[in-house]
Symmetry: C2
Subunit: 362 residues, 2 copies
Amino acid sequence: MAASTLTEVARLAGVSPATASRVLNGSARIPGKDIADRVRQAAESLGYIPNAQAQGLAKSSSGLIGLIVHDIADPYFAAIARGVQDAAREQHKMVLLATTEGAPDSEKEAVAAFAARRADSIVIAGSRTSRTEDLEGNTELAAELDRYCRNGGHVGVIGHGIVGAATADGYHVVSVPNEELAAQLATELAASREEDFVIVGGPEGLFTSDDRIRGFQRGLASAGLPAADVIRTDFTRAGGFEAGLALAARITASQPGTATKRLCIFAVNDVMAIGTAAALRSQGLRIPRDAAVAGFDDIETLRDFRPALSTVHLPLEEIGRQAASSAAGPSADDAGSPPITGQVILRRSTEVAHPTSAESAA
Amino acid sequence: MAASTLTEVARLAGVSPATASRVLNGSARIPGKDIADRVRQAAESLGYIPNAQAQGLAKSSSGLIGLIVHDIADPYFAAIARGVQDAAREQHKMVLLATTEGAPDSEKEAVAAFAARRADSIVIAGSRTSRTEDLEGNTELAAELDRYCRNGGHVGVIGHGIVGAATADGYHVVSVPNEELAAQLATELAASREEDFVIVGGPEGLFTSDDRIRGFQRGLASAGLPAADVIRTDFTRAGGFEAGLALAARITASQPGTATKRLCIFAVNDVMAIGTAAALRSQGLRIPRDAAVAGFDDIETLRDFRPALSTVHLPLEEIGRQAASSAAGPSADDAGSPPITGQVILRRSTEVAHPTSAESAA
DNA sequence: ACGCACTGGGAATGCGCTTTCCCAATATCC
DNA sequence: GGATATTGGGAAAGCGCATTCCCAGTGCGT
């Protein structure tokens, strides 16, 4: 038993398919009350469900919004996804998900797949890169997106724009002030102490990471401090852990000479920071006593982490929502949504050591 | 400029649309090599992207798999989503996402929407409920699903089957041995100590929660222990926190009389456990010194939590994958995938107190 | 009372593709 | 060598719906 069609409904109601279509799916012309009721009742009794594919074909618009993330299980992306999902619901659309592990070529594939499905708009989250090995992939991605836009698609990119993407109509980017916020974090961190700063960053060429590193260094510089060492590693917990191990060795080695200052480690995202902290701990070091650690993103699930992680709050959900709705169309006034802001949140993990009562406070 | 169509490609290649279709999209009949090349080249030069909607309409199958979760930002669901996404990729399908906050009626809507899009299969994650206020919703959901199945759809449900769902063809459930595992957890916890047990559970009627509670009580019973008190609260971190506050008061109150045993708190999921732990801590209590805490799920992001949380590991990703592929079709032998198993993982949060060296170990 | 603009419904076309059916040309067999 | 398979391509009929165009009926104006 196949699903019933509009035609069947129309026949049962004793009207033409055209009329049935008009009453069941919002049309400019609304048939007379009595007829409408008949049709609706027929539809009800048949359990009619409109075929969205056919509707899409006829209207050439699908009610779909595509979302591209690196990994949906990463809380950062999950939070963004929630925002996108919210916006989608408001727009009465569904979200189509694609995960790409961050590879430009599979992002390109995803865009093509979305284009094939005639997604009304697509949101790309996840940091852009400028690595030379990604150059070709980025170019192709940009071309694919460009084509998608020229065909009437709308795209919302989170963070940096796609490298090489023409500023076509329908191409929006929700920019995140990574650099400024990182600078601010550095400033606040520098204000209350004197320490050696170290940055645990992602691979070179990753915009999000690079921006945060640059910002942090700038903040340090403007506080009159020397630039921090930068350790490059994976943009993941594992990467952070690895870096943490190296740093633990460094800290332990310098322990004897008590003259060395405490290390303040800035990991460019919370997940990495957690990894770094775990590594430090695994080597018997304690935070913030033996080292301060700060992250970035303020991931919700991580807020109960102990010691509470200093970080930069980012309205991830809002970012996702904005990306989805900016791509939805001009809506109201195009000035629309306010720029994204974040704020530095200093918590226990970067507290200055109180030599005496270090263990007391929660 | 609209996207180019198959007809245009065919014209450019000097063949009929039929032939073009045959070469570009896997068909049983493969045209001659030379013709095929001509077509492929034409497609390439036109940047042809097949219209999936039209394909779907013609073939009546969409290459879509629908996923229904409570909240995509919840790490539990995010992990499952990743598994589903994986399976989807293997099947060359895309996943369509719907979040429902767990409300049966919006789940029903989601199913209808998926049906409208002619999703090839749909996966429902998130605990089923048997609350009377959900009864109607559940019935409608079951009806909707049943209709979907009768129309040739496949559904994979995670955990419990939908209440009242007929065992139609194409209806699969990936069952999770919540009860057994909870019993096992109780047994292991009971073995090494004597404590007062308390369960922090979700609202009554939530299968996942109820199963785990029942299992835990059974485990306690078979260890000769009395049933634990059960605190009902939300199935969220906030719920856990609230319960934790109440428990903290209870612990603090009984502190004076040193005769009371340490409390061992079993929260029915990790997120709640974290909330409970946070509440305890906020009241100056320490884990595991003043109370032991255990969770369930072994959420990845929470593994670095301190003190490390005792829990039951569930192969969430695998669960999602299985749900997606069981719904995909018989594949190989239908016995297919092995049953889901989990394992109890005892960590620091339930360690027995060493009155002396309590603060030493990591 | 006649012609007018309207209103409300139906017929028909097309969205882009797959697929069945059909036909011409070549290959195969006795 | 003529008849029968077999191959390779095209024509055309939908898939389920939206929508444009058309037409009958109604109200109105003068």
